[in-house]
């Protein structure tokens, strides 16, 4: 195999993180954690993809006073589509502040429900397990909710991930390296996200590092 082809194939897996990239059209290529695990959430691989439970990305960063956590899911998708609020999916944000950090010391969960009292469902979010918050944070989506010093919002947003995965497919077919810094596969696409902002001192445990990860789970079992 020509070296340029080898390189392109290798870079493909590394940069776009797209398994079986050679077999599927570019529009469904996974990246970061979008559309992974493909055997459960990617329509190119299965007929019953669980889009709602597909975590696209998790972001977490701190300021002097706050910890911000963003979980994105059910994307990327066309800009014509609405957000995804699936009542049967439970999302987890797990935080480890002890030793070892891999053991969760705090578990935040959020899920969606609907108000059907006035015809079409109007969706809401319930967030539980937030440190320093008494009970659940509950309210409508597309609304900034505030309780006990914590901010929460669920809604439809621009997909924040940026990467040229389309260029990879072109590189593969052309045999010429065609990554383009001006071409963003995730540009012009949306997804659903939940943002949680927490006072930092509710998470800190001395100088221990803080580990954060997310999960998506389906009520009653995997989609078949």
């Amino acid at each position: 195999m020509k070296i340029v082809t080898r390189v392109l194939l290798g870079i493909g897996v590394v940069l776009v993180a797209m398994p079986l990239a050679l077999l599927v059209p570019a529009r469904v290529l996974p990246a970061a954690d979008h559309l992974e695990p493909a055997l459960r959430v990617n329509q190119a691989f299965i007929t019953t993809p669980d889009r709602a439970a597909d975590i696209a990305d998790i972001y977490a960063w701190h300021t002097d006073t706050k910890l911000i956590i963003i979980v994105t899911f059910a994307g990327p998708q066309s800009i014509t589509l609405p957000a995804t609020y699936d009542r049967d999916v439970l999302y987890g944000v797990h935080i480890g502040t002890g030793v070892p950090k891999s053991d969760a010391t705090q578990n935040i969960y959020f899920r969606f429900g609907a108000d059907t009292s006035n015809g079409a469902p109007r969706h809401g979010i319930e967030v539980t397990g937030v440190p320093g918050v008494t009970g659940a944070i509950t309210g409508p989506v597309e609304t900034t909710l505030q309780k006990d010093g914590v901010l929460v919002r669920a809604g439809l947003f621009d997909d924040p991930f940026f990467f040229d995965s389309a260029g990879l497919g072109m590189s593969r077919t052309s045999g010429t390296l065609m990554f383009d810094r001006n071409r963003d596969f995730f540009g012009g696409q949306n997804l659903t996200a939940v943002i949680i902002e927490i006072p930092r001192d509710r998470i800190s445990n001395g100088s221990n590092p803080v580990a954060i990860w997310s999960t998506g789970a389906r009520f009653g079992g995997l989609l078949r």
Binding site: L9, H62, I79, L81, N107, G113, D115, S117, R122, S207
Partner: protein, 236 residues
């Protein structure tokens, strides 16, 4: 023995075991049944290269600016790690604007005593920023593109499930970006996503991480070298 040395020694043992098992399996030899490290078909990447690399040095190298954290410490367990006493920015947490793929690539492929973790992002290989500016304040994410239908926000009494966590079945997990998608073979990703960081920490996937990195390194190392970059892996 310091705690750090003990962790390195344990990782080396796990890694050596995993690599040995992987090597046995790939050679078709009389490999013992794999327990914690399961044989898996690697993603289609590249044909065999003429040079085979030892990727162990890549896992043990320290990532500059992290206070002594090694690459293995970044990817195992598969979590985002934040040190509140240090400035935010990947790999100290993950901000929206961080060029994560290029930094990750540099960390796992390049000699970080010679190159900055940001060397590939500086080329750059990928778009350097999102196509929409992020907002400086809550909720930070950019508004949705186009004019999609936005959910009615007037609901007040919602019917949520009240089932316990145990009633749900894991579909996906995510921590450190690119770990499962880059370094875990496709066929093993369901099992990987079913596992927890505590399983990662036990070394359950160490052999696979190393094997996938070895395959990719064997394919890519000559190209990094051709671009004037020094791989962290050494010829075996």
């Amino acid at each position: 023995m310091t705690a750090a040395f003990a962790r390195h020694a344990r990782f080396a043992l796990l890694l050596a075991t995993g690599l040995a098992l992987a090597a046995c399996n790939s050679s078709g030899g009389d490999a013992p049944p794999r327990t914690t490290v399961t044989a898996s078909a690697p993603d289609p990447v590249a044909t065999a290269a003429t040079t085979s690399y030892d990727v162990l040095p890549c896992f043990f190298q320290t990532v500059p600016g992290t206070g002594g954290t090694t690459v293995s410490g970044l990817v195992i367990p598969d979590v985002l790690t934040l040190k509140f006493g240090s400035p935010a920015g990947f790999p100290n947490g993950r901000r929206l604007q961080d060029p994560v793929p290029d930094i990750t690539l540099a960390a796992i492929f390049l000699d970080l005593t010679r190159h900055s973790p940001g060397v590939l992002a500086a080329l750059p290989l990928n778009p350097p920023a999102n196509d929409r500016p992020f907002r400086p304040d809550f909720p930070y994410l950019a508004l949705p593109q186009g004019t999609p239908p936005i959910a009615d926000a007037t609901g007040r009494t919602f019917a949520f499930r009240t089932d316990p966590v145990s009633a749900y079945v894991r579909v996906d997990r995510m921590g450190m970006p690119a770990v499962p998608t880059v370094l875990i073979a496709q066929s093993r990703r369901p099992a990987y996503n079913d596992a927890n960081p505590s399983d990662d920490a036990k070394g359950n996937f160490v052999g696979e991480l190393a094997e996938e990195l070895r395959i990719l390194t064997n394919a890519l190392a000559d190209d990094f070298i051709a671009r004037g970059l020094t791989p962290c892996a050494k010829p075996a």
